[in-house]
């Protein structure tokens, strides 16, 4: 298959699907191209979008690629959709979420030991918003649930994978503009 054609197909797939598309899935469709080529083509697409000043770019998130609009355009999109700010997550829920994200799999009691308060409510919120789920049970008395994060979490927090979480010791925020543009790690 010609690479130019492959590039167009990738673009078409990402245009149609609103969910992140895994590299594996793209490979299944584009049988003739290998993973490295597909990644390179996505990078090329992104470069083209950037240089021609398009309204969107391809973002690598939650183990896949998705076509998203540029963040500078957010105010206009919001106005069009008549939506306000995204549902904010409360500080309490975020703290619980952070502990789960970095310490997963973890039980409720272990989270509570760190936060020093009952986390029933915030845990419920997080499960309801599908940011975390019970991922198993611990082999200890009572066989308590072990909680872990979901791909939904990665998607909503713009993370490629759980490894892409900012490091614990000296956390730093990635540059907003760079994180918007997919830069697949080879």
């Amino acid at each position: 298959m010609e690479e130019a054609q492959g590039k167009r197909i990738i673009e078409a797939i990402l245009f149609v699907l609103s969910q992140p598309v895994a590299l594996k899935r793209l490979q299944e469709v584009l049988e003739a191209l290998d993973a490295a080529t597909i990644r390179r083509l996505i990078q090329t697409l992104n470069d083209e979008y950037l240089t021609s000043g398009r309204a969107f770019c391809i973002q690598e998130v939650a183990g896949g690629y998705q076509l998203v609009t540029h963040q500078q355009l957010a105010p206009w999109i919001r106005r069009t959709l008549q939506t306000h700010k995204p549902d904010a997550v409360s500080t309490a829920a975020l703290e619980t979420l952070a502990i789960i994200a970095y310490r997963q799999p973890i039980t409720k009691a272990e989270i509570e030991a760190i936060r020093g308060v009952d986390v029933t409510a915030s845990l419920e919120t997080l499960v309801e918003r599908r940011f975390v789920r019970a991922a198993g049970r611990k082999d200890s008395p009572g066989r308590p649930f072990l909680y872990g994060t979901t791909t939904e979490f990665l998607r909503h927090f713009g993370l490629k994978s759980i490894e892409a979480l900012p490091p614990m010791a000296q956390p730093a925020i990635p540059e907003p503009d760079e994180s918007a543009v997919a830069a697949p790690a080879d």
């Binding site: 245009f15 609103s18 969910q19 973002q59 998130v61 998705q66 076509l67 998203v68 609009t69 540029h70 963040q71 355009l73 957010a74 999109i77 069009t80 959709l81 008549q82 700010k85 995204p86 904010a88 997550v89 409360s90 500080t91 309490a92 975020l94 703290e95 979420l97 952070a98 502990i99 994200a101 970095y102 760190i114 936060r115 020093g116 308060v117 009952d118 309801e128 998607r155 909503h156 927090f157 713009g158 993370l159 979480l165 900012p166 614990m168 010791a169 956390p171 925020i173 907003p176 994180s179 918007a180």
Partner: protein, 243 residues
């Protein structure tokens, strides 16, 4: 969000007060919960309804209340073995540091969340039948929580039924949620005011309102207005969710 309190014996952030009370470094009986409650209510009135900020002090205030309540009870005879091992200062420091780190990361996550929500994808076509794209002018607008609460306080102000002593809970939120679900499944949508009649007791009204909020939170129902100042309509979002 820093939440400070001001009492006779203590002035400063609420979390510290709770911690000191837990460690019995402050006698919780010297703290008037009435004052704290008043201060909290004043803040609410001043700040308007922002659920996230307002809900934060609640568990802490609750903890103080629990400490005080427990203090009133005779202490159970101590069983030697399940005594908590006193925590060393180093251990306490380590735990605080650990928690501090998670707080920092939580803040970062919040920023990441906000950042990611600057990006929009195409709407999931099959998954969310919500929000048909029509001309902006006749799109019903979402009713905010504040408006809903305003509408509900009007309902409450019309209550005629006298308040009786509460014997048991004749209505539970679960029951009402179920009731509303059925109602919405049949009628698809109903007027906000239809949900309440003045013959109902305040308790039933409140339970119904809580059930409605619960359904909205579960994205089973939503509150919309056809145009500004129109009647609030509760519409079902159920279809498609089942698939």
């Amino acid at each position: 969000m820093r939440y400070d309190v001001d009492t006779d014996v203590y002035e400063g952030p609420l979390p510290l007060l709770v911690e000191l009370s837990k460690q019995r470094l402050i006698d919780v009986f010297l703290i008037k919960l009435v004052d704290l409650t008043q201060q909290y209510l004043l803040r609410i009135k001043a700040a308007g309804v922002d659920i996230n900020t307002l809900s934060e002090p609640l568990p802490l205030l609750g903890t103080l209340l629990a400490l005080k309540a427990r203090g009133l009870l005779p202490e159970p005879p101590r069983i030697a073995e399940d005594d908590e091992v006193p925590i060393s200062l180093e251990e306490l420091e380590r735990r605080l540091k650990e928690y501090e780190q998670f707080k920092t990361v939580a803040q970062l996550l919040s920023e990441l969340h906000a950042l990611q929500h600057q990006h929009f994808t195409r709407p999931a076509t099959e998954l969310s039948p919500e929000e048909p794209q029509t001309a902006a002018s006749d799109v019903p607008c979402e009713v905010s929580l504040t408006d809903l609460m305003g509408a509900f306080s009007k309902v409450l102000s019309k209550v005629t039924a006298p308040v009786y002593e509460v014997r048991e809970e004749p209505w539970t939120v679960e029951m009402k949620v179920q009731e509303l679900r059925v109602l919405l499944a049949v009628k698809r949508q109903l007027n906000f005011l239809e949900l309440f009649t003045i013959e109902q007791s305040p308790l039933e009204l409140v339970v119904t309102f809580l059930a409605l909020l619960e359904l909205m939170r579960q994205r089973v129902a939503r509150a919309i207005q056809e145009r500004p100042f129109a009647e609030i309509v509760i519409a079902s979002l159920e279809q498609g969710k089942e698939s």
